[in-house]
Symmetry: C2
């Protein structure tokens, strides 16, 4: 027997409709690419998104077509998402930090028909335009006055283009499983793979992230997604903030410490989120300028493991709660958030920190397990490492245009490619990517744990641990360091620093100081490149 | 094009599975019907719910069958819900405060096959058992030691019955639109009508109520649903609390002021919810015993309008935030919650109270409009009254076994039967039931507003306003009062109290003091009965 409740499909337009109805005047503030701050609100964003929808139809864009964006976080980028999905087309966010060849690869793979791009990226796109022939039109996210001369096909300034439509338009009525967004993984471990989000998965994922123990967004929050819209849906904030009626602050192209600091305080941001590297810069800026964060109450940190020192700095020195989160493009992206269960509440901040460095626990909508290589479930003892596998309402089923490739196990779980422990309170700790795991004498060593400890050393800016071949132990870890400006970390000194903190056999066999470490387009350490660089390296511990 | 995300149906068992996985030891504390306090947790509730499911199958209960409950809020009642829905059967909560004839009517209408009942209700059910022949078995929610002699067919003590099954059982895999629960409306305005919830509507509704600006539940909350499970899903708390990982406190059969006070403090409840009458008793108890509420932070109040004096008492004297909510059985039930948008934030508590007495605004998942009798939309000016119509993810489409009766308008909105205003900030104020509206000289007078003002008078315990025929004005309001114990409110005195607070033409034409006012099974004033009682009444203002 079926229930007799209304059929109210979980469509993305419901989110902006809701915000425009219940929170019409709530501010949406952006640092524009042209320079000045720009102020709008949800009612206007919806109005203009309706125009985008109508205007896209005039350009022949239809249900299922991919429309790419290559843009910073601004109100215009936001409007395009709601406009694109409002006609059943698919926003495809392209990460401008990818290599040109990668951008050409994913845009060709997706067969994008139209590209919305920021002024910043006109030169880049001009270079590759001939290699992405599927794109029929290039819409530059600016107004006529700022429109540059360009060779791009059918190029037009967004504001001029938009002015050709009015907002007298009705969102398409769609099945909620209709594709809505496309995002390729960072390509840290290989070729980027496309994840095709549905309206339903995006809306449910936003509902999940709004909850009190997730990001906990309310109408009284001012939310700044520093994490870009092109980085895994900006962790849902472009949906979650309007759904919660929170105000939005979009930082535009300026993501350095000084600019982030300025906008956090000027706009009284209460919640923000980004990868650790952003926060390293902010904390350095705060140090150098005796800065304070009087308005900020919470910061979401994820994408890479957040070092203990960063959590401690935010919480103790600035009174800002850190929500350490883990996720991946394939999970829309949120997979876990580290909020404090009553089970672990304690007056002892150091013990609390032991938990806060973990990636947290699963919100409602995410199920997980850790298994060995044969798929057998492993104990939740906080020690045993296993492959982390997930199932849920916003988790990938197949990759785009690789639909015949099965990626779920018999129970329907997706292998995250991460290796993790789970403790008795449900807190999960990522110890490695499975491709980066170091196996020494048959036992695993966590490169992430070593790296996080190493960056606690006062001279160290960044650390990477990789395994190198050892005739007896199979693999041994070496520690590669980037010094803080003006510092010269010494091998023995760093090892002394680590010694009391780790098991003896985890001690790196060597410490190597380098000027820089290669990163992916989402700011992650690119271990494949690092291993390539150290291919001919000889361990000092091997005769 | 369809998205490529996992198919993760929104089934009720996912909620208890989640709680048992992520929050296994979180306490579920109940005042048992037998007397003592009982302590369990989510892992055990799930384990026993699996047994319920298996045991129901042994009794031949199948997909789509209705299984009734006539019970207080306890862990056993909770287990039955998850067990029943876990095999695709339908929990049908019966309100024991209904008249016997009404109980017979709804149980016959639903054709319930099995009844779980508390000890309290054995005598009641024995009286009507012969009139509900569809019920094949009566399971008394107690253990063998407390099982009474009874004539009920196939009667068995729940614990004995449960012991015949183990928990080696897998929840049925169901389509998420499968019917899960059945609840009849209170019958305030006529015959009770059955609302058939689906798994999907219940899960989405719980996600909505967990959000920060709704009930805002977290793992650090201790949630006590005083509102019974048989009253519109206990406002979702039996789903929302495990979904949020909150602890649950179930008050059992004792809902008087003293008992509620005791359990609130003994169990350190942080969030509770019920209809206004419960809070009248609690506040009286607090007054009489100089009580304090050191743990409680929020109280949800709805089901009837919450008077200003109650909100003020909780907030000013006890430091407990009131969340005034409106809803109905047909909405699962939450339709609006009054939390504070930044638009209305102010230092002036009296101005804030003006907003807090409204029923609040719609959460994501609820859409509404106010219209005139011809369906034309009315302005959101905070003054114009109109029929309130709703659409949403957990709103009724048809009534059970009245499926050929269309109850939605052309836009898919359901007429709530309530009359309301909407202001420019989106706050909604219920002024009346459409059946209770008083029309004087062509203009509407809000009976609810008059009642709420009248109970602000120090001598008045309860107030009801009804319209009576007037030859010139068509209808005029009269005010019917129940005095506080030992007080004797005087007509002129009460009118003097009202005079500065309302428009002149709203002044009641008479004030009548009565010893009591008739209520429905959910504690609402039964205006139909009151109008019957005053059928032959003559207005003093008519010659
Ligand atoms: N809090 C965190 N701690 C540790 N690792 C994290 C955290 N958050 C995310 N990660 C890492 O980031 C990964 C997800 O990154 P993303 O989806 O951007 O692509 P990628 O995995 O880097 O690229 P590809 O899958 O193409 O190799 C996770 O699988 C995990 O390894
Ligand atoms: N906060 C509130 N303020 C005013 N009225 C409220 C509030 N909350 C609920 N109500 C009233 O309660 C009604 C819903 O009650 P319920 O679903 O229990 O059945 P009923 O409407 O009393 O019964 P029936 O529909 O059978 O006549 C709403 O339509 C509204 O009139
Ligand atoms: Mg990956
Ligand atoms: Mg009703």
């Amino acid at each position: 027997m079926r229930g007799l409740m209304q059929d109210w499909p979980l469509l993305i337009h419901k989110v902006i409709d809701y915000a425009a109805n219940e929170h019409p005047k709530r501010p949406v503030v952006s640092r524009s690419v042209e320079g000045p701050m720009h102020r709008t609100n949800y009612a206007e964003v919806r109005e203009r998104a309706l125009k985008v929808a109508k205007r896209l139809e005039m350009d022949g864009i239809r249900l299922g077509d991919r429309v790419a964006t290559l843009a910073w976080n601004t109100w215009r980028h936001l409007e395009t998402w709601y406009g694109i999905t409002g006609i059943g087309a698919i926003y495809h966010t392209v990460n401008p930090r990818l290599f040109e060849d990668q951008i050409v690869f994913i845009m060709s793979h997706a067969e994008d028909r139209l590209l919305f791009l920021d002024l910043t990226f006109v030169p880049l796109v001009e270079k590759i335009a001939s290699r992405i022939p599927s794109v029929e039109r290039f819409v530059v996210l600016t107004d006529g006055a700022h429109m540059p001369e360009t060779s791009l096909r059918n190029a037009v300034a967004y504001e001029d283009w938009l002015a050709e439509a009015d907002s007298d338009f009705a969102w398409l009525t769609l099945d909620e499983t209709t594709a809505a967004g496309l995002c390729y993984t960072s390509g840290t471990t290989g070729e980027p793979k496309g994840v095709l989000y549905s309206h339903r998965s995006n809306v449910l994922h936003a509902m999940m992230t709004v909850m009190p123990d997730a990001f906990g967004l309310s109408t009284r929050d001012v939310v700044m997604p520093v994490v870009p819209l092109f980085h895994a849906n900006s962790w849902s904030l472009a949906f979650a903030a309007p759904m919660a009626g929170s105000s939005l602050v979009m930082p535009g192209p300026k993501l350095d410490g000084a600019s982030i600091y300025e906008i956090l305080n000027a706009e009284k941001v209460t919640f923000t989120a980004a990868v650790p590297t952003i926060w390293f810069s902010l904390l350095q800026h705060l140090d150098a300028h005796a800065g304070q964060l009087p308005h900020l109450t919470r910061v979401g940190i994820g994408g890479s493991a957040c070092p203990r020192a960063v959590i401690e700095a935010f919480e103790k020195r600035f009174g800002v709660q850190v929500l350490h989160a883990w996720g991946m493009t394939e999970m829309s992206p949120v997979g876990s958030i580290c909020s404090i269960k009553p089970d672990i509440q304690t007056e002892d901040y150091d013990r609390l920190l032991d938990v806060k460095v973990t990636q947290g626990y699963a919100p409602f909508g995410v199920e997980w397990k850790i298994t060995d290589d044969n798929g057998r479930k492993l104990p939740h003892d906080g020690k045993t490492f296993g492959r982390l596998k997930v199932r849920g309402t916003a988790v990938v089923r197949r990759y785009f245009r690789r639909e015949d490739e099965e990626i779920l196990d018999e129970e329907g779980f997706f292998d995250t490619g991460d290796v993790a422990t789970l403790d008795e309170n449900g807190y999960m700790r990522i110890t490695d990517r499975s491709k980066d795991v170091i196996k020494s004498g048959g036992e695993w060593i966590s490169s992430i744990e070593l790296e996080n400890l190493a960056v606690g050393h006062p001279d160290v800016a960044e650390a990477a641990v990789i395994g190198v071949h050892h005739p007896k132990w199979d693999e041994r870890p070496i520690l590669i360091l980037v010094p803080k400006p003006g510092r010269e970390p010494k091998k023995e000194d760093v090892l002394e620093f680590l010694r009391p903190r780790i098991a003896k056999w985890w001690m790196p066999d060597d410490v190597i100081v380098v000027p820089d470490i290669p990163h992916t387009a989402t700011g992650k350490i690119q271990k494949t490149a690092l291993r390539d660089r150290f291919r001919d390296y000889q361990l000092p511990t091997v005769a």
